[in-house]
């Protein structure tokens, strides 16, 4: 979904990233605390804290919305540009996918 640029060491969104429709992985226990959340992965007994933004992103990962759609929704709530929102959402979903909080699918599949 994103690659790290060798020159500037920053993550760049790959062209197909916006078409991926991630969904929350099943089997996670979610405990909402104020506007944040704690997720418990019973399979690996790991616990994760999502801050308010990450929690909003995670909730929007329903397998129906693409990353681009999630980024667009966030621009309604936060004062960020679309490109910045897309980059941040990609990074957040990358991190969540790396620890198994979301699984990726594409809008082709859905």
């Amino acid at each position: 979904m994103s690659v790290t640029c060798d020159a500037c060491n920053e993550r760049m969104v790959t062209p197909d990233a916006a078409r991926i429709a991630p969904r929350r992985r099943e089997g996670l226990a979610c405990h909402e605390l104020d506007d944040e959340a704690v997720l418990f992965d019973n399979a690996f007994t790991n616990t994760y804290r999502l801050n308010a933004t990450a929690y909003r992103v995670w909730r929007l990962c329903d397998g129906g919305r693409t990353v681009g759609a999630i980024a667009r929704e966030l621009t309604n709530h936060y004062a960020v540009t679309k490109s910045q929102a897309l980059a941040d959402v990609v990074r957040a979903i990358d991190e969540m996918a790396s620890v198994g909080l979301v699984v990726a699918g594409t809008d082709d599949a859905t």
Binding site: H31, L33, E36, V38, F40, T47, R49
Partner: protein, 354 residues
């Protein structure tokens, strides 16, 4: 002859002993408690879930080199919600333990007690004398110095609580009560929990523990384990400031160094609190020379930090996170950087409203 301990009594290092605990030594070649246990294990050959070795409960009170002297115990206690039976071949340590826990003394053995026994053996090669601290049939520590026995009894008890008190969700924390509400101070070892607890006790707060927050998963109340405060050498000047006297008995707790114990009753007859709901959680960190400061943290962050300081989180499986989330929903959570004791107590008192 050589002086042992800090009580000034001169004791012989030979097998033929003089002094008040002479009767405990027993016959020269009497089997040690450890051997008795090994024999018991071999007889049955079955493991026991709690003791580790079946048959050891039956061996309690039968043989061993502490078995014949009333001064050596066993003595029985209920320290808050923790039932204990303690037997110690070293009567001076046993006497100190009884004094620290006098208000918790029971006439008979409590049900499901943690059983601590200190026996005396010799090193197989050097023949140097040593104490072995056993807990529920498992040897926890070898102690070479007489003034190390009492801290290791405490340590063994803490170990057993962490391993075998499944009813409560356990957090490594000091817990005090003010206005009927519990204030929990989770922290890593050496973060100043006990010193802070002593400072707040001196201000009239009530004591639940300096080591464990024992949370009932059904009621979410924290229950008392009012063990004697174990104060490390670096905080001895604080005890002087609090008027707890410079002439306290000092013990050696292995690599942790010198420690002393303060019974909570030294702060007043009503210094020990009862079960109460958690209303404040302060993660504390000691930074010498810094002004005390406090900042609110989110409940989600508090859950993650509590998880890290829990002793038995995994035993509760997924329920542990739910429980911590429920506890934090009812509490205000802070990060406390502590410095000088008076300053820190002021900051905490203002935040909590005590």
């Amino acid at each position: 002859m050589k002086t042992l301990g800090r009580d000034g009594e001169r004791r012989s290092l030979g097998w033929v002993r003089s002094g008040p605990d002479a009767a405990n030594t027993g016959p020269r070649w009497k089997p040690t408690r450890r051997e008795t246990r090994a024999d018991a294990a071999c007889d049955t050959g079955k493991a026991d879930a709690r003791t580790g070795v079946r048959g050891l409960r039956n061996a309690w009170g039968q043989g061993g080199n502490a078995g014949t002297d009333a001064a050596a115990g066993p003595a029985h206690f209920r320290v808050g919600v923790v039932p204990l039976s303690v037997r110690c071949v070293d009567v001076s340590a046993m006497r100190d333990f009884r004094a620290l826990y006098a208000p918790c003394t029971l006439d008979g053995p409590p049900e499901d007690a943690i059983r601590i026994e200190v026996v005396r053996t010799r090193n197989g090669r050097s023949l140097r004398r040593r104490f072995e601290v056993w807990a529920d049939g498992v040897q926890r520590f070898t102690v070479w110095r007489r003034d190390g026995v009492l801290p290791h009894i405490e340590w063994a008890i803490n170990w057993q609580i962490a391993l075998f008190l499944p009813r409560y969700f356990q957090i490594h924390a000091a817990v005090l009560e003010v206005n009927g509400e519990a204030v929990v101070f989770p922290a890593d070892p050496g973060s100043g929990k006990t010193t802070l607890a002593a400072g707040l006790l001196a201000r009239g707060w009530r004591y639940l523990s300096d080591e464990f927050a024992l949370i009932d998963p059904d009621t979410l109340s924290v229950h008392p384990y009012p063990k004697a405060l174990c104060v490390k050498e670096g905080s001895f000047p604080v005890l002087d400031l609090l008027g707890l006297g410079p002439r306290r008995r000092v013990y050696v707790k292995g690599k942790k160094g010198s420690v002393t114990f303060v019974a909570p009753e030294e702060f007043g007859p009503a210094a020990v609190g009862g079960p109460c709901p958690v209303r404040h959680i302060l993660f504390c960190r000691f930074e010498p020379g810094r002004r005390a400061s406090i900042r609110p943290i989110s409940r989600a962050e508090a859950v993650i930090r509590l998880n890290r300081t829990s002793f038995n989180f995994l035993k509760f499986h997924g329920r542990g996170v739910a429980l911590l989330a429920d506890v934090t929903r009812r509490a205000r959570c802070y990060e406390l950087v502590s410095g000088a004791i008076d300053d820190t107590c002021d900051v905490v008192t203002r935040a909590v409203g005590g």
